[in-house]
């Protein structure tokens, strides 16, 4: 018995508290029908091991409505599957919920639930499942419903995030590294005898080794090196000197001089330096390229909208792909579904949550015949609407036609190394030609030797590596703190920011709507019944929330009911005159607090108030500690009834802007940039998309990185918002580390140069100097980044 009371408290499936209801099966408790359903499916197939690997591995299943009719539509199915013939179908689905070993175990056992599934494989990091199933036994809809039944609902979106990333990066970098590494190892081995000294009678070996070295250099230069030549050439044509120019020059000079020395029997050449250089450069490139498979930074409204919508035709409903939705069609939107296009409300009681689109936190009710803008989420009964604008031209999606979304993004982030390499290249060329002309009058051979030696030894290998290694170390530090950056250039951008623009709903406040209702009153049972009866008559969102707080109460008789929009409601209930509404509606001095308030007056006695407070994210205080150096602006699409609460953080009114449309947000960011501010925009909704794109650094904040977040440069997990000051300081540390490592590599270059200008550069010296400087840079940057992260308490 004692055991029973303990197990009753939490759900066996998802681990939530069983507060609202209690369902039992197999002597195990579940918090909702959904969770119990999942357990039943699993236990019937003998898959209860799922629960042994981890405690409560499941997702909460409070929502149990399946809506996959659209997967019967062949057009949609064809877009989703990888391969099909008359027997089998292969499909890859993205399942955001995959999070533990139980998930892997269960999802790879799918054929024990349905034998029509031949094969299922999980890619844990990409959160994908690859399934091959028989067309006789099931179809895609049944597969998706099966996944839904066991608690793993795939996220199906036509702008398929995951697949696009896979096809995006196929330039064989790993292969090139393998080839370069292979050649580097062999060349080093073959060069050893030369360095250790070959005796007179071993001269034949010298020729043999020389030819082998040339042979090994060829694939390195022509597979790994080509991209540097191409890039340097393209940049030269655009009159830009970037780091690829001295690198390409170094590679070319190394190769030509090696070739010449070996063919003319004048020396052993620099084959090992050449192979080492290309190998390290490619490794640096590989390190810099960090991808988050499960996070997408490029999402737009298409991944927010559903794949298909239910269309009413001749009295029947059928699913239609969103792209084929036309003006004049009638659509049906059910509870919790998103309205995909601007439409006129024809039927049903609309109570639409626009929090994600406009920042407005309170659901809006619409009357019949009114235009409902796309992007809202219906809460309540099913609606019927008539589409009046195509999806791509609706009020919301028009934002994506703005120039901020179409212009080239390349020049937005200039990195330090780009600036430095310009001057570096110029100085390098000056020194090289200087030494050539110095020797040319006395000794042509020595002049040429000095010229090439300068280009070889000053080849900025370490310089080229310091940024990628520092940045990738920094990126993984940010990653550990749930701050996901799109690429390494974002770190430097972060260090430059001096202005922070914050959205309100969802960014400063948590969640979409109002979360906390404080009851500033004690009510008697009668009063509760009175309030409940009155509020249940009103469809105002606040009234509905009050009803929820009051709980189920018997309804009393109401007469002379009056609702004054924007003010409140009044009526006679059981012989009492009752007024519920705003402070001004009470005609009595009432303390005004922060937040939205609803006051209650019964028979001219003030009974108290409900205060609707949006709960702020943790750590807001810490962020505003940055204040003197950083300027803060609030940019909200919401009404300004929280102005007072916000003033505590933002100060004067000039820093707070309410009721801004998405376009106005974008324009505001632009105006800050014109005033020479480096703007970081933090937002969460589609309405921030324009501002995020326009800003110097757009950060999307979210409570679950797998959920939809608008396109941005970085994604921040809500619980790490308080670490923002540390992130800023750490990014500055990172930039400092890059500066120091640049100095170190320049020192190496200077040491090498002092030998090179005399024309006496020995291959052994180059072969030692180059790897040594590289090793120094790599170890310095990784250790220094680590130390900096410790100092900022990010590790």
């Amino acid at each position: 018995m004692a055991i029973d009371t303990i197990t009753q408290s939490t759900c066996y499936h998802c681990g939530n508290d069983c507060t609202e209801g209690h369902y039992e099966f197999d002597q195990k408790s579940f918090c909702c029908v959904g969770c119990r359903g999942v357990y039943q499916v699993l236990s019937q197939s003998g898959l209860c091991n799922y629960y042994t690997y981890n405690d409560h591995p499941g997702a909460n299943r409070a929502r149990i409505d399946k809506r996959f009719e659209y997967l019967d539509e062949p057009k949609i199915v064809n877009d989703l599957i990888d391969y099909t013939d008359d027997k089998i179908t292969v499909v890859t689905l993205y399942i955001p919920y995959i999070h533990c070993s139980s998930c892997i175990w269960l999802l790879e056992q799918l054929n024990r639930i349905n034998p029509a599934i031949y094969y299922s494989r999980i890619d844990f990091l990409k959160k994908q499942i690859n399934v091959r199933f028989s067309n006789d036994g099931m179809n895609l809809r049944q597969l998706v419903e099966l996944l839904f039944d066991i608690g793993y609902e795939p996220l199906i979106s036509l702008q398929d995030v995951v697949k696009k990333q896979v096809t995006g990066q196929k330039d064989n970098l790993v292969r090139k590294i393998a080839v370069a590494g292979f050649c580097f190892g062999n060349v080093m081995l073959i060069s050893f005898p030369e360095y250790l000294g070959l005796s007179e009678y071993e001269q034949t070996f010298r020729q043999f080794f020389g030819w082998l070295n040339i042979l090994f250099s060829l694939p390195v230069v022509f597979s790994g090196g080509t991209e540097y030549f191409v890039s340097a050439w393209n940049n030269l044509r655009n009159k830009v000197l970037n780091i690829d120019f001295p690198l390409a020059l170094g590679i070319a000079v190394l190769f030509i001089r090696t070739l010449a020395e070996i063919l003319l029997h004048t020396g052993p050449g620099f084959a090992d330096t050449l192979c080492g250089l290309v190998f390290f450069l490619l490794v640096g490139k590989f390190v810099q390229r960090k991808t988050y498979y499960h996070i997408s930074f490029e999402r737009d409204y298409r991944s927010f909208f559903p794949v298909a919508v239910q269309v009413m035709e001749e009295g029947k409903e059928r699913p239609l792909p969103l792209s084929e939705l036309k003006v004049g069609q009638r659509i049906r939107i059910r509870h919790n579904e998103i309205i995909p296009a601007d439409a006129i409300l024809l039927q049903g009681e609309a109570l639409i949550d626009f929090s994600f689109v406009t920042g407005e936190s309170v659901p809006v009710s619409k009357t019949l015949g009114e235009v409902v803008y796309a992007g809202g989420r219906q809460t309540g009964e099913a609606l019927e609407l008539e589409v009046i604008k195509p999806v791509s031209q609706s009020y919301l999606t028009q934002l994506w036609n703005n120039e901020a979304f179409t212009r080239q993004q390349d020049n937005r982030m200039r990195t330090f190394s780009e600036t430095v390499s310009k001057y570096f290249s110029i100085v390098l060329l000056l020194v090289a030609f200087g030494s050539l002309f110095f020797w040319i009058s006395t000794d042509l051979a020595r002049g040429l030797s000095a010229f090439t030696a300068v280009l070889i030894v000053a080849c900025p290998c370490a310089l080229a590596l310091s940024t990628p290694f520092t940045m990738s170390a920094a990126l993984s530090i940010f990653d550990r703190n749930f701050f996901y950056l799109k690429n390494t250039a974002v770190v430097e951008q972060l260090a430059r920011i001096n202005t922070i623009v914050l959205d309100k709903t969802g960014t400063i406040t948590t969640g979409g709507g109002i979360n906390a209702i404080a009851k500033h009153a004690e009510f008697t049972d009668l009063e509760k019944q009175i309030i409940y009866s009155l509020c249940s008559n009103s469809s105002h969102p606040l009234s509905r929330q009050i009803c929820q707080v009051m709980g189920e109460q018997p309804r009393l008789n109401i007469s002379s009911y009056q609702e004054i929009p924007g003010k409140g409601i009044s009526a006679w209930v059981n012989g009492h005159q009752v007024k519920i509404g705003s402070a001004s509606f009470m005609h009595k001095g009432v303390d005004v607090n922060a937040g939205t308030e609803v006051h209650i007056m019964i028979d001219d006695n003030y009974c108290g108030a409900f205060i609707f407070k949006q709960s702020f994210r943790n750590g807001l205080k810490e962020i505003f500690g940055l204040k003197p150096q950083y300027k803060f602006y609030l940019l909200s699409g919401d009404q300004d009834h929280e102005r007072k609460a916000m003033a505590e953080f933002f100060g004067e009114d000039g820093y707070m802007h309410f009721k801004k449309s998405p376009q106005e947000k974008l324009d505001f960011v632009k105006s800050l940039q014109l005033a020479d501010r480096k703007v970081m925009m933090i937002g969460d909704g589609l309405n921030d998309s324009g501002a995020l794109k326009q800003s110097d650094l757009g950060v999307a904040i979210t409570d679950d990185v797998n959920n939809f977040s608008p396109g941005s440069d970085a994604i921040l997990d809500g619980k790490s918002l308080c670490k923002l000051p540390a992130f800023f300081r750490f990014s500055k540390d990172t930039v400092n580390i890059i500066h120091i490592s640049f100095l170190i590599s320049l020192t190496y270059n200077l040491i090498g140069l002092s030998y090179a200008v005399t024309g006496n550069l020995s291959p052994l010296f180059a072969a030692i100097l180059m790897p040594l400087s590289t090793a120094t840079i790599i170890s310095f940057t990784s250790i220094a980044t680590h130390v900096a992260a410790k100092k900022r308490k990010l590790l």
């Binding site: 197939s45 003998g46 898959l47 209860c48 091991n49 690997y53 070993s101 892997i104 175990w105 790879e108 024990r112 494989r121 999980i122 890619d123 844990f124 990091l125 990409k126 790993v174 292969r175 393998a178 080839v179 292979f182 190892g185 062999n186 073959i190 071993e202 070996f205 043999f208 082998l212």
Partner: protein, 53 residues
């Protein structure tokens, strides 16, 4: 010392075989997912009869 020619030839051919093996593995997607197998190996296979418990 002409044996050196033979030995170096052998060593290079051997190294080329390994490089080829790496390419083969790469082309067949063995490096696509470097994490999941490490978890998968810890999960036990269950005999089919034991399941209906």
């Amino acid at each position: 010392m002409s044996i050196i020619y033979f030995l170096i030839g052998c060593s290079i051919i051997l190294a080329l075989v390994f490089l080829g093996a790496f390419f083969w593995a790469q082309r067949h997607g063995q490096h696509d997912d470097l994490y999941t197998p490490s978890v998968r190996i810890l999960l036990d296979d269950q005999p089919a009869e034991e399941t209906k418990k």
